[in-house]
Amino acid sequence: MLIDWFTVVAQVLNFLILVWLLKHFLYHPILKAIDVREKRIADELADADAKRAEAEQQCELFEKKNAEFDRQRIESMNKVSEDAKNESARLFDLARQESDTLRYKLALSLKNEQLSLQDELNSKVQKEIFDIVRKALSDLAGTSLEGCMAVTFVQRLDALQDAEKSHFQAAFKHSDQPIIVHSAFDLPDEPSALIVRALKGLLGDSVIIQFVTEPELISGIEMNANGQKVAWSIADYLTTLTKRVDEVMQSHGESHDNTQANDIGMVKDLNEEHSSDEKHL
């Protein structure tokens, strides 16, 4: 008999025990571990999805902010550029104004300097002329300059027209103011007496005459009273001298400019020749 019923029963029991044991020690733990792992993977995937969604959101936000930043940057750059342009124009204007002011001040200063130089030159020339004339008169004629000037002054008074004389007389008749005679140097007694005599002869004895020395006076002797003036002056001589000096200086400057222009022309020609030589080379 191939079937042993005891063995059959025993095998049935064995198999049932095997089923229970494998269920307990194999299937249940393995399936549980797989479930836990699957759940973990699913959680991680969900987490990754959430993080990806968040990252995409952040990326979108970042791109938006970036675009906004770019726009603001361009606007700022444009604004800064515009401001810089305006500021540049303003600074240019300011610099131009300052340059004009400085140029004007420089011109004024030059003018003042020129005037000052001219005054100084005038006074020196006057002094020199006076010294030369005084020495020449003293050496040649044995007379003094002051005396000659007083004589000349008196001659001018005498040479006045009648209308002018009457005008002077009318002007000083009712005046109790003294007649002031200005001179560039102290007049000696003799010329002073000559002048006093001449004026009293013209205006009467009651007239009061006062002498004032003014070294800066260009003219030799000058009399002012009630808007009337009689003077002997070397101003005309000086004016003529200045004019001639200016003419000389101007002519010298022109010749200098012409020379410079000629020099520039020559340099230009030389440059052109040089460039043509280079071309030939």
């Binding site: 191939l2 079937i3 042993d4 019923w5 005891f6 063995t7 059959v8 029963v9 025993a10 095998q11 049935v12 064995n14 198999f15 049932l16 025990i17 095997l18 089923v19 229970w20 044991l21 494998l22 269920k23 020690f25 194999l26 299937y27 733990p29 393995i30 399936l31 549980k32 571990a33 797989i34 836990v36 792992r37 973990r40 993977i41």
Partner: protein, 229 residues
């Protein structure tokens, strides 16, 4: 020569005895359980896991998937019974490569016991799934005339299960024993490998047939209608 390992008796007291079938069954059970205990003692739920755990996971998942593919919707429920069937028969077949190993499935008593287990398990799962009345009424489908035929079919397929497995396993062992006496060296090795393949295939066939029987028994009227539509 023994046709069945039942005939190799190690110990006997009255009707109680320990023959080779029972002893090697215990050995197979011991190997399965000890391996399971050793591997599942340190189970990792992380992505990194041991090779043995990987192997057991592959085995369990494959069996589970096979059960599902045959048509059982909740494979976890049947995994214990059907998986144990497959593992027991497969390990018995693999053991044939070890000299001196007597496969328990080479005994008609064992295959009969397994077939009886299937015979009992099918109505139990069927009643669990669709209820006693519905299950019993399935024997009268499509008409009441089919009742004896269905019962005969139930018994005959159980018998077929037992005899098929026994025949294959016993024949393999017998052929091997005969060949060992004729050509002692090369040819038995080839036949052993062939027997190994046959044993695994038989384990798969037994497992799939049992699954199909249970699936047929647990298929409710609604499922049948929905599937047919």
């Amino acid at each position: 020569m023994h046709l069945s390992p039942d005939q190799i008796i190690y110990w006997q007291m009255g009707f109680l005895k320990i023959n080779a079938t029972i002893a090697f069954t215990w050995l197979v059970i011991l190997i399965l359980v000890v391996t399971s205990v050793l591997v599942t003692r340190k189970l990792s739920t992380d992505l990194k896991r041991s090779r043995w755990q990987n192997l057991l996971e592959v085995v369990v998942i494959t069996i589970n998937k096979q059960i599902e593919e045959v048509g059982l919707r909740q494979p976890h429920k049947y995994l214990g019974f059907l998986g144990s069937l497959f593992l027991f028969i497969a390990l018995s077949a693999i053991g044939t490569v070890i000299p001196g190993f007597e496969p328990p499935t080479g005994s008609l008593s064992t295959t009969a016991a397994l077939a009886l287990c299937v015979l009992v398990a099918v109505p139990i799962f069927g009643i669990q799934e669709q209820g006693l009345k519905s299950y019993l009424s399935s024997y009268t489908k499509p008409t009441i005339i089919m009742l004896p035929f269905n019962i005969i079919s139930e018994v005959s397929r159980t018998l077929a299960l037992a005899v098929r497995l026994f025949g294959n396993m016993m024949s393999g062992a017998m052929i091997l024993a005969i060949l060992l006496t004729i050509t002692p060296f090369l040819f038995p090795i080839v036949m052993t490998l062939l027997g190994l393949l046959t044993g695994i295939v038989q384990a798969y066939i037994f497992f799939v047939l049992a699954t199909v029987y249970i699936a047929a028994a647990t298929r409710t009227q609604d499922n049948t209608l929905s599937e047919s539509s």
